[in-house]
Each structure stands twice: as C-alpha cells, then as structure tokens.
Symmetry: C2
Subunit: 197 residues, 2 copies
DNA sequence: CGGGGAATTCCACAAGAGGGGAGTTAGGAT
DNA sequence: ATCCTAACTCCCCTCTTGTGGAATTCCCCG
C-alpha cells in the first residue's frame, strides 16, 4: 500500500451546506468555557472546529467579536433568574436555586456561564460584558427598586460562590454534596436573602 | 549640554544590599493579583520590579516556582478562617465574615487572595495549589468531621461569591453596599451555615 | 589580597499569539 | 451561461512568551 499522498486540504468553497460557522461557535464556546478568554487561542478553536484559523477572521472579525457572538449573545439567561426570583414569594428561594444550578449543569447553558465566569475573572473586557449584561436585567426585573436589587444580588452572589466552588475550582466538600442536599441547604438561605424573612 | 550618552545599564552585580529578590516577589504578587497567573508575564513582573527578566529565572527557576513563593507560600490564611469559624459558636458567623472580608481588604492579604482566585479560575495548576492548600486546613480544623467541613465549606462559598462580586467582577449592587451593612446581612447567614441554627 | 560564587546584564531561541492579504473554488442571482 | 459574492486555504508579519546561556561585576571568606 503506497503511502497516502499527503494531499493538502483542497482550497476554495465546499459543496453543500457546511455548518462551518456553527461548528466554530460551538468550539469557541467549549474552549472559552474550559480555558477562559485569554487561554482559548483562535488557533485552538479553529483546530477544534476542524477549520482553518483564517475562517474565524472571515466570519467574525476579531476575537472579541467571536466571544460576543459565541458567549455573550446567547445570554438570554439572566432574566430567567430574575423571573424565578420574583415568582411566588414563598418558594422564590428554591426556584432561584434550582434555576441557577440548572444553568450550570445544563449542557447548553453550562458552557456559557462557565465561559463567562472564567473569562470575567481575568479579562477586563469580559467582566465589562458581564456587567453590562447582568446590570440592566436586574434593573428591569426590579423596576429600579435598589433595595430589591441588593437582595437579589446577594442571593446571586451566594449561588455564584457555590457554583465556583463546585464547578470551577472543585472544593472537595462542596463537590461531594449530593445535589438534592445542596438545594435543601441553599434554598432557605436564598429565600432569606430575597425576602428578608 | 551634549546629549546624555544613552548608556545602557551596567552589567554585573550591584553594590550594597539591593532588595531585588523581595522587589520581584512584591511585583509578582501584585501582577498575579491583577491579571491572574497566565496574564502576568515574567517580563511584566520584571519590569514592574525594575529588574532584568533573567533575574527571575536566576532566583526562582520557573514561573510556577515564582508563583508558589510569591503567593502560595504566604498563605497562612486558611487557618485564620477556620479559627474564626470554631470560635464562640454564638458569634462565629460574624467573626468569620469579618475575618474573610478583612482578608480581601487587607493590604497584605488582599493581593494574595485575589491572585489565588484570579489564577485558580483559569490555571489548573493554580487551582490544584489552592485545593491542596485549603483542603488539609479544613481537615485539620474539623478533625475529620465531614459534616462540619461541609458546613464550613458552604459558609466559605457564600463569602467567596460575595467577594468575587464585590472585589473581582464588580457587580454594582454588591459594590455599592456599605461594608457595615454587608456584614450585617451576611453574618446571620454565615452563622446559619455554620451552626445550622 | 585573592578567588569563588552570587547578582546582574544582554542576547538568542523556538513556540505560539492575533491579525492581514492573496488566491481558489463553489453557490446563486441575473 | 455569466459574474458577483461568500466560503475556504495558505502564507506572512509582527509581537510576546517562557526559557536558556554567556559575560560582567561585585561581595565576602580565606
């Protein structure tokens, strides 16, 4: 068997409907989630998508725009939390806790929020995006009630810390807690933050 | 006045006791705190210390060793928390909250913990260091009581989330809260996590 | 008053980053 | 059937990174 002729990938457009653009977005999201904004190189993303790095530039321009379309624009997420928070006040704590953990665990949303957090801690532009994304949502959901916004923010901060410990850093005791028990322990506290009761 | 001869810095050892090593450690800590492990380049650290990059290698070997000596080794910190947590049970929540916030705000400890968190979210080796540092301390402080360890971990996670929101990401409502009020709101919750009451 | 080792400089290197441009092929509108 | 545009690959450039080594100067111990 003669050695396969090492032929390079053909140049030019591909026939049919190649879902290349989406492949890039998926790979980008996955790598941003895993390594953060700076750690995910365009080349690595292109490789993961099975695509030439030049294509990224072709489709999205620069890295920040890619991040925005892959991560930020899919963030229809914050209002979901605010909705949970303003639901039936007697169960808001549990609802928000469930919604939040679901966000981190969902196969679609998990990468988004991991990418956001991993990037926001290191890259100022990612942090800015996150602020600009979350701030207005809270403002909308509270109708400008700053006291309520404060309560929601504290509840969300608690959940953020737990998620960091459980899903990002991997702090033993928090990882080992079964999910049910975790919810049972968090829900009353979140409820307390939200309603003050 | 003739143009100053542009003379390059002299090579060779400097006279007197140059605190170069410490200058490097200080600069390294500051930059790790500001940009995280990957974001802080050895060259930038050297520049901030007013020193040739080669010196870092001379003193510390490689980057990980520098991080370890600048950040990790100064972490006499965790046991401080554990101590607060196991103090007088009626005030443990407030004590731990104060101790934790003090950690983030202290001019000496703040950079350490910021560096740790910023790095641990992105760099796996930093995350490992953090785990290896915190895990045993909790184990020691609890004497192997895993239920207690779980309670402390949940309390610490809450505080971690608040600190992330307030000092790292900069979430509006959490930043705007006056410190006193923040403590007043957090302390009872931390107390609840710790004691179950 | 030597001499060895530590502190310090500069230079070099290979690898990888993001970005840009030129050229090739296919799809779709006319 | 023709042409414009979009998809696609390859090559290049410049910058930065971590690391390594050679050369110089000074301190300190004998």
């Amino acid at each position: 068997m003669p050695a396969p002729p090492e032929r390079p990938r053909p140049t030019g457009r591909r026939p049919g409907d190649s879902g290349t653009r989406d492949a890039i977005l998926d790979a980008a999201l996955a790598l941003f989630a895993e390594r953060g904004y700076d750690g995910a190189s365009l080349r690595a993303i292109a490789a993961a998508a099975g695509v030439d790095p030049g294509l990224i530039r072709h489709f999205f321009g620069d890295k920040e725009a890619l991040f925005a379309t892959a991560v930020a624009d899919r963030m229809q997420v914050a209002h979901l939390l605010a909705r949970a928070a303003s639901a039936d006040p007697t169960t808001a704590g549990r609802a928000m806790t469930e919604a939040y953990l679901g966000l981190w665990e969902g196969p679609d949303t998990g990468p988004i929020v991991r990418a956001l957090v991993r990037s926001a801690t290191t890259s100022e532009s990612a942090a800015r995006m996150m602020r600009e994304m979350i701030g207005p949502r809270i403002h909308d959901a509270t109708g400008g009630d700053t006291a309520l916004a404060g309560r929601i923010a504290l509840a969300a901060s608690n959940l953020l810390g737990v998620a960091m410990a459980r899903y990002v850093i991997g702090v033993g005791p928090v990882v080992d807690l079964p999910r049910d028990e975790l919810v049972d322990r968090l829900a009353p506290v979140v409820q307390h933050y939200l309603t003050g009761a």
